[in-house]
Amino acid sequence: MHVAYPVVLAAMLFSVGVYGVLARRNAILVLMSVELMLNGANLNLVTFDIWRSDVMHSGQVMALFVIVIAAAEVGVGLAIVLLVFRNRSTIAVDSLRELRERTDRDGTAPEDAMDPP
Protein backbone atom coordinates (compact mmCIF):
# COMPACT_ATOMS: atom_id res chain seq x y z
CA MET A 1 0.00 0.00 0.00
CA HIS A 2 1.30 3.39 -0.95
CA VAL A 3 1.90 5.76 1.97
CA ALA A 4 0.26 8.52 -0.07
CA TYR A 5 -3.30 7.30 0.53
CA PRO A 6 -3.50 7.81 4.31
CA VAL A 7 -1.16 10.78 4.26
CA VAL A 8 -3.22 12.67 1.68
CA LEU A 9 -6.40 11.84 3.59
CA ALA A 10 -4.80 13.21 6.76
CA ALA A 11 -3.74 16.41 4.98
CA MET A 12 -7.25 16.92 3.59
CA LEU A 13 -8.85 16.34 7.01
CA PHE A 14 -6.45 18.86 8.53
CA SER A 15 -7.33 21.46 5.88
CA VAL A 16 -11.05 20.92 6.40
CA GLY A 17 -10.45 21.50 10.11
CA VAL A 18 -8.50 24.69 9.36
CA TYR A 19 -11.38 25.95 7.24
CA GLY A 20 -13.86 25.11 10.00
CA VAL A 21 -11.85 26.87 12.71
CA LEU A 22 -11.57 30.01 10.61
CA ALA A 23 -15.06 30.10 9.11
CA ARG A 24 -17.39 29.05 11.91
CA ARG A 25 -18.90 31.49 14.41
CA ASN A 26 -20.24 29.04 16.97
CA ALA A 27 -17.60 28.09 19.55
CA ILE A 28 -18.76 24.47 19.70
CA LEU A 29 -18.36 24.14 15.94
CA VAL A 30 -14.85 25.55 16.31
CA LEU A 31 -14.14 22.81 18.87
CA MET A 32 -15.44 20.19 16.41
CA SER A 33 -13.12 21.52 13.72
CA VAL A 34 -10.19 21.30 16.15
CA GLU A 35 -11.13 17.65 16.64
CA LEU A 36 -10.94 17.13 12.88
CA MET A 37 -7.45 18.66 12.80
CA LEU A 38 -6.30 16.43 15.66
CA ASN A 39 -7.65 13.41 13.81
CA GLY A 40 -5.66 14.32 10.73
CA ALA A 41 -2.51 14.46 12.84
CA ASN A 42 -3.41 11.12 14.43
CA LEU A 43 -3.80 9.43 11.06
CA ASN A 44 -0.35 10.68 10.10
CA LEU A 45 1.16 9.32 13.32
CA VAL A 46 -0.39 5.87 12.85
CA THR A 47 0.61 5.76 9.17
CA PHE A 48 4.24 6.58 9.80
CA ASP A 49 4.37 4.06 12.63
CA ILE A 50 3.05 1.30 10.36
CA TRP A 51 5.30 2.39 7.51
CA ARG A 52 8.52 2.42 9.55
CA SER A 53 7.35 -0.64 11.57
CA ASP A 54 8.78 0.96 14.68
CA VAL A 55 9.84 -1.37 17.49
CA MET A 56 8.80 1.08 20.20
CA HIS A 57 5.46 1.78 18.45
CA SER A 58 6.07 5.50 18.94
CA GLY A 59 3.45 6.59 16.43
CA GLN A 60 0.56 4.56 17.75
CA VAL A 61 1.41 5.33 21.37
CA MET A 62 1.60 9.00 20.51
CA ALA A 63 -1.77 8.72 18.75
CA LEU A 64 -3.28 7.30 21.94
CA PHE A 65 -1.75 10.17 23.92
CA VAL A 66 -3.17 12.68 21.45
CA ILE A 67 -6.62 11.12 21.83
CA VAL A 68 -6.37 11.50 25.62
CA ILE A 69 -5.21 15.11 25.31
CA ALA A 70 -8.09 15.79 22.91
CA ALA A 71 -10.55 14.46 25.48
CA ALA A 72 -9.05 16.74 28.16
CA GLU A 73 -9.13 19.68 25.74
CA VAL A 74 -12.79 19.14 24.93
CA GLY A 75 -13.64 18.96 28.64
CA VAL A 76 -11.91 22.22 29.53
CA GLY A 77 -13.02 23.90 26.30
CA LEU A 78 -16.67 23.08 26.87
CA ALA A 79 -16.44 24.32 30.46
CA ILE A 80 -15.07 27.63 29.15
CA VAL A 81 -17.77 27.81 26.46
CA LEU A 82 -20.51 27.19 29.01
CA LEU A 83 -19.03 29.87 31.30
CA VAL A 84 -18.99 32.34 28.42
CA PHE A 85 -22.59 31.44 27.60
CA ARG A 86 -23.62 31.96 31.21
CA ASN A 87 -22.00 35.41 31.36
CA ARG A 88 -22.71 36.71 27.86
CA SER A 89 -25.61 34.50 26.69
CA THR A 90 -23.88 34.06 23.34
CA ILE A 91 -21.07 31.83 22.12
CA ALA A 92 -20.51 33.48 18.75
CA VAL A 93 -16.76 33.91 18.74
CA ASP A 94 -16.79 37.09 16.66
CA SER A 95 -19.11 38.94 19.00
CA LEU A 96 -16.81 38.43 22.00
CA ARG A 97 -14.54 41.36 21.24
CA GLU A 98 -14.07 43.15 24.54
CA LEU A 99 -10.39 42.25 24.71
CA ARG A 100 -9.44 43.23 21.18
CA GLU A 101 -6.90 45.90 20.40
CA ARG A 102 -8.37 49.36 19.97
CA THR A 103 -7.49 51.10 16.75
CA ASP A 104 -8.15 54.56 15.40
CA ARG A 105 -10.91 53.25 13.18
CA ASP A 106 -13.09 52.59 16.19
CA GLY A 107 -13.63 56.32 16.64
CA THR A 108 -13.04 57.67 20.10
CA ALA A 109 -10.36 56.28 22.30
CA PRO A 110 -11.52 54.34 25.35
CA GLU A 111 -11.87 56.40 28.51
CA ASP A 112 -9.39 54.49 30.56
CA ALA A 113 -6.66 54.68 27.96
CA MET A 114 -3.50 56.19 29.35
CA ASP A 115 -2.11 59.27 27.68
CA PRO A 116 1.20 58.77 25.88
CA PRO A 117 4.07 60.46 27.69
Binding site: M12, L13, A23, I28, E35
Partner: protein
Protein backbone atom coordinates in the same frame (compact mmCIF):
# COMPACT_ATOMS: atom_id res chain seq x y z
CA UNK B 1 -4.96 -1.23 -6.62
CA UNK B 2 -5.36 -3.95 -4.10
CA UNK B 3 -8.53 -4.60 -2.14
CA UNK B 4 -7.14 -2.90 0.96
CA UNK B 5 -6.39 0.24 -1.01
CA UNK B 6 -9.87 0.31 -2.53
CA UNK B 7 -11.46 -0.09 0.90
CA UNK B 8 -9.20 2.60 2.31
CA UNK B 9 -10.10 5.03 -0.47
CA UNK B 10 -13.81 4.40 0.05
CA UNK B 11 -13.54 4.92 3.82
CA UNK B 12 -11.43 8.00 3.20
CA UNK B 13 -14.11 9.44 0.91
CA UNK B 14 -16.72 8.83 3.61
CA UNK B 15 -14.54 10.43 6.30
CA UNK B 16 -13.61 13.43 4.18
CA UNK B 17 -17.09 14.17 2.85
CA UNK B 18 -18.67 13.93 6.29
CA UNK B 19 -15.89 16.19 7.63
CA UNK B 20 -16.81 18.71 4.93
CA UNK B 21 -20.44 18.42 6.02
CA UNK B 22 -19.38 19.07 9.63
CA UNK B 23 -17.90 22.42 8.68
CA UNK B 24 -20.60 23.43 6.18
CA UNK B 25 -23.94 22.24 7.53
CA UNK B 26 -26.40 24.81 8.82
CA UNK B 27 -27.82 22.65 11.60
CA UNK B 28 -25.78 22.47 14.75
CA UNK B 29 -26.88 19.01 15.85
CA UNK B 30 -26.28 17.58 12.39
CA UNK B 31 -22.69 18.80 12.59
CA UNK B 32 -22.14 16.66 15.70
CA UNK B 33 -23.79 13.65 14.04
CA UNK B 34 -21.69 14.02 10.89
CA UNK B 35 -18.66 14.20 13.18
CA UNK B 36 -19.66 10.74 14.43
CA UNK B 37 -19.68 9.44 10.84
CA UNK B 38 -16.32 11.02 10.09
CA UNK B 39 -14.61 9.69 13.21
CA UNK B 40 -16.14 6.25 12.70
CA UNK B 41 -14.86 6.06 9.15
CA UNK B 42 -11.46 7.13 10.41
CA UNK B 43 -11.58 4.30 12.94
CA UNK B 44 -12.20 1.98 9.99
CA UNK B 45 -9.11 3.43 8.32
CA UNK B 46 -7.08 2.62 11.44
CA UNK B 47 -8.39 -0.93 11.33
CA UNK B 48 -7.31 -1.25 7.70
CA UNK B 49 -3.87 0.05 8.69
CA UNK B 50 -3.76 -2.83 11.26
CA UNK B 51 -3.83 -0.43 14.20
CA UNK B 52 -6.51 -2.25 16.15
CA UNK B 53 -6.11 -0.69 19.57
CA UNK B 54 -6.05 2.87 18.23
CA UNK B 55 -9.20 2.14 16.24
CA UNK B 56 -11.14 0.86 19.24
CA UNK B 57 -9.86 3.65 21.47
CA UNK B 58 -10.97 6.07 18.77
CA UNK B 59 -14.44 4.53 18.81
CA UNK B 60 -14.62 4.51 22.61
CA UNK B 61 -13.25 7.96 23.37
CA UNK B 62 -14.04 10.04 20.30
CA UNK B 63 -17.34 8.59 19.14
CA UNK B 64 -18.42 7.61 22.62
CA UNK B 65 -17.25 10.40 24.88
CA UNK B 66 -16.15 13.48 22.97
CA UNK B 67 -19.18 13.67 20.69
CA UNK B 68 -21.51 13.14 23.64
CA UNK B 69 -19.74 15.98 25.44
CA UNK B 70 -20.16 18.18 22.37
CA UNK B 71 -23.85 17.29 22.18
CA UNK B 72 -24.21 18.21 25.85
CA UNK B 73 -22.53 21.53 25.09
CA UNK B 74 -24.93 22.14 22.21
CA UNK B 75 -27.85 21.34 24.47
CA UNK B 76 -26.67 23.49 27.38
CA UNK B 77 -26.03 26.54 25.20
CA UNK B 78 -29.67 26.39 24.03
CA UNK B 79 -28.86 25.90 20.39
CA UNK B 80 -31.82 26.22 18.07
CA UNK B 81 -33.35 23.10 16.61
CA UNK B 82 -33.41 23.28 12.84
CA UNK B 83 -31.36 25.31 10.42
CA UNK B 84 -29.79 28.51 11.68
CA UNK B 85 -28.29 31.15 9.44
CA UNK B 86 -25.64 32.64 11.68
CA UNK B 87 -23.26 29.71 12.03
CA UNK B 88 -20.74 31.08 9.55
CA UNK B 89 -18.78 34.25 10.09
CA UNK B 90 -18.10 36.87 7.47
CA UNK B 91 -14.65 35.62 6.56
CA UNK B 92 -15.73 32.43 4.83
CA UNK B 93 -13.90 33.25 1.61
CA UNK B 94 -10.65 34.02 3.39
CA UNK B 95 -11.03 30.82 5.42
CA UNK B 96 -11.66 28.85 2.21
CA UNK B 97 -8.52 30.35 0.66
CA UNK B 98 -6.44 29.49 3.74
CA UNK B 99 -7.81 25.95 3.84
CA UNK B 100 -7.16 25.44 0.15
CA UNK B 101 -3.64 26.78 0.55
CA UNK B 102 -2.99 24.46 3.49
CA UNK B 103 -4.30 21.48 1.56
CA UNK B 104 -2.26 22.32 -1.52
CA UNK B 105 0.95 22.87 0.41
CA UNK B 106 0.61 19.76 2.55
CA UNK B 107 -0.39 17.45 -0.29
CA UNK B 108 2.37 18.75 -2.56
CA UNK B 109 5.08 18.44 0.09
CA UNK B 110 3.95 14.99 1.25
CA UNK B 111 3.57 13.59 -2.26
CA UNK B 112 6.98 14.84 -3.37
CA UNK B 113 8.59 13.63 -0.16
CA UNK B 114 6.94 10.21 -0.02
CA UNK B 115 6.85 9.36 -3.70
CA UNK B 116 8.51 5.97 -3.34
CA UNK B 117 7.24 5.03 0.10
CA UNK B 118 5.36 1.76 0.20
CA UNK B 119 4.49 -0.57 3.00
CA UNK B 120 3.09 -4.04 3.02
CA UNK B 121 0.47 -4.63 5.65
CA UNK B 122 1.19 -8.31 6.14
CA UNK B 123 4.88 -7.88 6.87
CA UNK B 124 4.77 -7.87 10.64
CA UNK B 125 1.46 -9.14 11.97
CA UNK B 126 0.26 -8.19 15.40
CA UNK B 127 1.85 -4.77 15.27
CA UNK B 128 -1.14 -2.84 16.52
CA UNK B 129 -2.72 -5.23 18.96
CA UNK B 130 -3.38 -4.38 22.58
CA UNK B 131 -0.61 -6.75 23.65
CA UNK B 132 2.15 -5.15 21.63
CA UNK B 133 0.99 -1.60 22.34
CA UNK B 134 0.68 -2.36 26.04
CA UNK B 135 4.22 -3.76 25.97
CA UNK B 136 5.44 -0.58 24.30
CA UNK B 137 3.59 1.77 26.65
CA UNK B 138 4.62 0.09 29.89
CA UNK B 139 8.15 -0.68 28.79
CA UNK B 140 9.25 2.48 26.97
CA UNK B 141 6.58 5.11 27.53
CA UNK B 142 5.75 4.79 31.24
CA UNK B 143 6.83 8.30 32.22
CA UNK B 144 4.82 10.11 29.50
CA UNK B 145 1.88 7.88 30.39
CA UNK B 146 2.00 8.92 34.05
CA UNK B 147 2.50 12.59 33.16
CA UNK B 148 -0.53 12.31 30.90
CA UNK B 149 -2.64 10.87 33.69
CA UNK B 150 -1.71 13.84 35.87
CA UNK B 151 -2.58 16.17 32.98
CA UNK B 152 -5.98 14.51 32.62
CA UNK B 153 -6.61 14.91 36.35
CA UNK B 154 -5.61 18.57 36.20
CA UNK B 155 -7.89 19.14 33.20
CA UNK B 156 -10.86 17.54 34.94
CA UNK B 157 -10.27 19.55 38.12
CA UNK B 158 -9.99 22.67 35.98
CA UNK B 159 -13.26 21.88 34.21
CA UNK B 160 -15.03 21.39 37.54
CA UNK B 161 -13.62 24.64 38.92
CA UNK B 162 -14.62 26.50 35.76
CA UNK B 163 -18.19 25.25 35.83
CA UNK B 164 -18.81 25.89 39.51
CA UNK B 165 -21.09 28.83 40.15
CA UNK B 166 -20.59 29.51 43.85
CA UNK B 167 -16.88 30.27 44.00
CA UNK B 168 -16.18 32.92 46.63
CA UNK B 169 -19.12 32.22 48.87
CA UNK B 170 -18.54 28.58 49.62
CA UNK B 171 -17.80 29.13 53.32
CA UNK B 172 -20.97 28.86 55.32
CA UNK B 173 -21.09 30.80 58.66
CA UNK B 174 -20.76 27.72 60.84
CA UNK B 175 -17.76 26.64 58.81
CA UNK B 176 -16.24 30.06 59.43
CA UNK B 177 -16.60 29.82 63.19
CA UNK B 178 -15.35 26.24 63.17
CA UNK B 179 -12.23 27.20 61.24
CA UNK B 180 -11.68 30.18 63.53
CA UNK B 181 -11.84 27.94 66.56
CA UNK B 182 -9.47 25.55 64.90
CA UNK B 183 -7.18 28.47 64.18
CA UNK B 184 -7.30 29.64 67.80
CA UNK B 185 -6.39 26.22 69.00
Amino acid sequence: MTGVEIAFVLLGIVALSSAVLVVTTTQLVHAALWLVVSLGALAGCYLLLSAELVAWVQVLIYVGAVVVLLLFGIMLTRAPIGPSTDLDSGNRLAAFAVGLGTAGTLVTVLLTGLRHAYFHLGDNPGTGTARSLGDAIFRYWVLPFEVLSVLLLAALVGAIVLSRTNIGRVAAPEDDSASEQRGRR
